[in-house]
Symmetry: C2
Subunit: 185 residues, 2 copies
DNA sequence: TGGCTCATGTAATCTGTTACATGATTCT
DNA sequence: AGAATCATGTAACAGATTACATGAGCCA
């Protein structure tokens, strides 16, 4: 019943900053939003077509370096729609961690298997954390008047904070499981 | 291509601890797994029917206090299937926070609106944290031989750790936004 | 007696992904 | 020359939710 099609607003939000092509929207999502949102071409292009029908965006076909491009620009109707959505309370706030699911059922397998899962998770977090920290550092240094950067910084800080918490938990949990593993040897 | 139907394994995992009805499975998920997984009746009952066809569970129809019940029990085939899945690396580890999405696009609205969103999130986390902490305390005190409890404790600790990180981030972020808000007055 | 919990199930719908199709340009 | 990137789009499918349908037992 409630507004659930968040892809509409992800796209409108990105277009509120600057006109973009569908391809560029995908890149922005993968680079900037990926820590808390994702999307595929299969949802981006149809959504853009629908937003155009609703007069929330306008399309401009261009030919750049011999390559066809469709640049989308947000309209005032689109901005109103986005602003209305921003006022509604955030409903979907969910974490879906298969790691935790597998760990929860860890009594059906060996301690080594559980440790293995945690190590994989830990490595992934460790490999992504520097990127997030780099974004925070860069955004803190620029100090421009662009308010969009300020909000980007706040979300990047969320990422750093939670990733650091994950790493602490990984270390704690590994110690516990390793202790158990030795006892059983 | 890969095994994506995780609902199968959530159910098999819960049944690996004890025989349950579909209704009880739903309750277990809502109570114990809700911090990192969720499910509805519309997926639980059809999945149970399918697992029975695959001989991974057996059904026992009973009449308890005049009320019909179907109690499902995991089979050895089911246990093998679960164990095989536990060995595979966890693939889906995603956080989908609409709050962060709305905050990211906060430059399209007032600072007050963004603060409001964060307050709502903070309140929700604060209201859920005591439950998680209670679970940790209880699980730490029992010290029984049930290994399942040990793994439950580890996931509950994950919840406490991340929720505490969220609250720290909320406090930090509110300070920043409140400062900005005063400057603009 | 009215509302809550127990209990099972289905149909319609949603929301999105994956895989495919196509082809130009740019980098190495 | 070949790989990677740029660029748009569709069809099939997946995986799940929501809403509905139904009804009994329990508690205040």
């Amino acid at each position: 019943m409630a507004i659930e099609k968040r892809m509409d607003f992800v796209i409108l939000g990105l277009l509120s900053h600057e006109p973009l092509t569908g391809y560029e929207i995908k890149k922005r999502i993968d680079k900037t939003l990926k820590f808390f949102w994702s999307a595929s071409f299969g949802s981006i292009y149809p959504t853009l077509a629908q937003l155009e029908k609703e007069n929330k965006v306008t399309r401009l076909e261009t030919l750049e370096r011999g390559r066809d491009k469709i640049i989308y620009t947000i309209t005032s109707i689109g901005r109103e729609s986005l602003a209305a959505w921003l006022q509604l309370p955030a409903e979907k706030n969910e974490l879906r961690y298969e790691l935790l699911l597998k760990l929860f059922f860890g009594d059906n397998t060996s301690t080594m298997q559980s440790l293995n899962q945690i190590n994989l998770f830990e490595q992934k977090i460790k490999s992504e954390l520097p990127y997030l920290k780099g974004a925070v550092k860069q955004l803190e240094s620029i100090q421009d008047t662009e308010t969009a950067h300020k909000y980007y910084l706040l979300t990047a800080k969320f990422g750093v904070k939670t990733y650091e918490a994950y790493l602490e938990w990984c270390a704690d949990t590994k110690k516990i499981l390793e202790g158990d593993n030795e006892k059983s040897n």
